[in-house]
Amino acid sequence: MARRRSSIVLRSFLFAVLVTLAMNALDMTYHVLTDTAVHLGYVAVKFTVIFLTVFLIDWLVGRSWKDQVFGSIAGPAIFFVYYLVATPTLDRSQFVIDEAIWYVAVHAVALGLSYWLASTVVKRADGWRHVGRGVLVGVAFTCLDLAYRMVEERLRLDLEGVLSVAVPGYVVWHLVLAVAVVTFVSWVSRVGWRSYVLAGLAVGAVLAWQSAAAGFVTPFGVFVDGIVFGVLAVVTSCLADRVAAQDVSA
């Protein structure tokens, strides 16, 4: 009984992590494309709020479409409440994102899409499963990729952690390449450790090359980036397959 209970907690935990990573990646991409800075603190708080909402709903209530719709609206709405209360503390000379009510809708769409990918598309029996897996792993990977960039900047330059490298070119190229590479690997290989290693090698090589070609990193940084990207791709691929294999009827 205790084992079953812990497995349900773990199931919900993994699902919530994957959905929240994907949602945050879509949201960060939106912010970058609309020319609003992305801050590490802002992303960290948003991740916490959305993760807890998705996790608690999945663990305590369930994973039906009604629960997913409720979670998609409740998470962003609660984050909006947080933002409103925290607004007087903001240093507006550094933090310029002006949270508007319609951002709730943007966040809700991103979260709903992530829910749909993680709970439905990756479980399909036909070829669309590979595309769904590629998109899901690609966006989840991009979230970790951008978080790595922000942490690196914070540690190296002692800045706030603004995503200065996240010009649209960087984000869009990394997102598209990660999705394409993982979809291709998913198509040509079976689920398993070989598939994860292959995805890690391919994503690490392609994205490190892209970073170097675009002039984002130094020659030494290319090797570090390649290793980090590879590890992140392995982790997100493994996570997506664990979630895809979940049986929520139990």
């Binding site: 209970r5 349900i8 199931r11 919900s12 801050h39 590490l40 603190g41 802002y42 960290a44 708080v45 916490t48 709020v49 807890l52 909402t53 608690l56 709903i57 999945d58 663990w59 305590l60 209530v61 369930g62 994973r63 039906s64 009604k66 629960d67 409720f70 409740a74 609660i78 984050f79 409440v81 947080y82 209360v85 925290a86 503390t89 903001l90 240093d91 550094q94 933090f95 706030e160 929520v248 009827s249 139990a250």
Partner: protein, 75 residues
């Protein structure tokens, strides 16, 4: 409602009460952008976490009260 849920609900309400008390204290400390962990508004984050608990448990009670609701997954 199960005993476990009642206990959880009680804990969350106590947390919400503490967070509400914190929110009444005016703060002037401001670091960096003022948002994120380890900053002045951590107390706001605690209140938000309590709010998440209340919202989710309310949804759980609502779902269980409505006849004909089918559960898939969860507990």
């Amino acid at each position: 409602m199960k005993k476990r849920v009642k206990i959880l609900l009680a804990i969350i309400f106590v947390c919400a009460l503490i967070a509400a008390t914190f929110l009444l204290i005016p703060g002037k400390v401001q670091r960096d952008i003022g948002i994120g962990f380890g900053r002045f508004n951590d107390r706001v984050l605690i209140g938000t976490i309590a709010l998440i608990g209340v919202v989710v448990l309310s949804w759980k009670v609502w779902r269980e009260k409505k006849p004909g609701n089918k559960r898939s997954g969860g507990r």
